[in-house]
Amino acid sequence: MATKDTPVNDPMLDPITGEIRVIGPGHTFKSVTEKISRIVLTPHTPLGWYGGLFLAGGGATLLLIAVTWLFLRGTGIWGITQPVAWGFAIINFVWWIGIGHAGTLISAILLLFKQTWRNSINRFAEAMTIFAVVCAGMFPLIHTGRPWLGYWLFPLPFTMNVWPQFRSPLLWDVFAVSTYATISVVFWYIGMIPDLATLRDNSKSKVGQFFYGMIAMGWRGSVRHWVRYETASLLLAGLSTPLVLSVHTVISFDFAVALVPGWHTTIFPPYFVAGAVYSGFAMVITLAVPIRKFYHLEDIVTIRHIDNMGKVMLVTGLIVAYGYGMEVFMSWYSASHWEYFMMWNRMFGPMGWSYWVLVTCNIALPQLMWLRKFRTNVALMFLMSFVINTGMWFERFVIVVTSLYRDYLPSSWGTYKATRWDYATYVGTLGLFTFLFFLFVRLLPMIPMSELRILLPQAKIHPKDEPLPEAGD
């Protein structure tokens, strides 16, 4: 795929294939190590980092206040009521966990498909997964109203002999999300061990050497260790793939198993998973664009990455569009009065505007990504990532609210209006997510150095009889 619109002598183009490079030219094992470990090990913290941390910390504090007030007063401070008993809490839960899914997709599925371009972005995509799951996991818990009894969800031997009810999708969710959080953390940490060892060996301060030394667990790069490590990584990737698909499938069961019109449909699992990947990739772009700019990583997180992520978003966006189309079709084809009314109400009812926001953000505007010029324009892709995540938030709003507020019995119809505490909790999780991400970028290696080294031309093994390029004698 040669690019005609880019100058031929562009250093970011591979002279042999004509494709945009995955890593900028001229990198060596040492330069990769130095460039990435310096971000963490430098004693000079950039002022911008403090500014960002402060702002994000403000958001996290807002969350703390909102949740404290919730614990004191109960869920009545939110806008939830009958018939819309699942408001922002469930919308945000599904939205956040969907965002997390791209991290797993990048680290697991692209690893299995040997898409080595992912090596530059997988670490912070995995971090994004974990922080998104932290935000997501909180919502169902605080939505229960008595989060201090949250342990009742687990099959623990209580003295009162009460056990969970395993036929409920809400309980399946407990197992899906807790497994997902655990496996994501383990995968992330295992992937980081060799890089933590690099930081241990490059750190100049005693504290750094001790801290990274302890969490690197004495990794020394033995090839025997590497072989087992690679096996474990592949196995974790192989396990994470069905896991990530199952998590959003189970979440869609929360809706699909119910009899509410607009929820009771078999298309939910695949369309939820595609939507999750869609919004997750958008969030990776939202994070990657400022990071590569701020830390001058343009030669490691290249236009090639932005372009490829644009393609993935285009595909998953089209799957999501198919899902919307099928929902509309089925509400007509099912010949069910309730389904038909639900769809009419969703499009033209009092909250119809939210459906059209969703269609604009998730279907119409992303079609611009068919253009290569658009996909390789970092600023436009950055804006697009916000458009898509807005659209995906509205998708969950449409599913939760516009299905619930007018179902079978007109005498039970109601409406839904979020309160300031709903907004405070949502904005608060955005703050918490960003706060954790700022800490991650400063304290841990955000780009996997060991995996980048594999991508360098120096990593190629020359067979015995072939003279080495370095052999000057």
Binding site: F166, N202, S222, H225, A232, L235, L468
Partner: protein, 180 residues
């Protein structure tokens, strides 16, 4: 492990992975067995050169996964049929299709944890102290940009003088004698 004294081994440093693989292969062919290579990223060829082909992580993972699925499915069955039977919409107590989903999640949970912690355990990690860390060039290079071959003193063929000459034949950057 008892406190050991003397030489742990001889550590040869190389600049490129190809040099390392060549040296490791020759060392293996000349009869050295107790040795290891150290690289800043996985070099499968080096592992193959020192005769390391199979690892047990997959088996550990499989056992973990089987434990997970059996544990969860039997727990669900015991709870729903014997410990706390509840009539939920007239469904049978033994609603096995519903039980598949938590059991599936626990299969993944157990096999993932077994793969990760099994890998660490078989590797003998965490092990914060290792004699090789006494070598300054190892500390600055093994996790960054250098490639090492270590012939260990426990090898019957090992002899400090002879093995040093043998390693110097590969023209490494340096050969360092590592103490315990």
């Amino acid at each position: 492990m008892p406190i050991q004294e003397g030489t742990y081994g001889l550590l040869a440093e190389f600049d490129t992975p190809s040099d390392l693989v060549r040296a490791a292969q020759t060392a293996y062919d000349s009869g050295y067995r107790r040795m290891d290579c150290y690289t800043p990223y996985p070099v499968e060829e080096a592992a193959a050169a020192i005769g390391f082909h199979r690892d047990s992580v997959s088996l550990i993972c499989l056992i973990g996964g089987l434990l997970g699925v059996v544990a969860m499915f039997s727990l669900e069955t015991w709870i729903s049929v014997w410990a706390y039977p509840m009539n939920i919409g007239g469904r049978p107590y033994y609603s096995w299709p519903a039980f598949i989903i938590p059991a599936y999640e626990w299969t993944i949970l157990f096999s993932g944890l077994s793969a990760a912690f099994g890998m660490l355990a078989v590797n003998g990690l965490p092990q914060v102290y290792h004699p090789l860390f006494n070598s300054p060039n190892f500390r600055s290079g093994a996790t960054s940009d250098k490639f090492f071959l270590c012939l260990e003193s426990t090898d019957p063929k090992f002899d400090v003088a002879e093995s040093r000459t043998f390693l110097e034949g590969f023209e490494p950057v340096s050969v360092v004698e590592v103490e315990y």
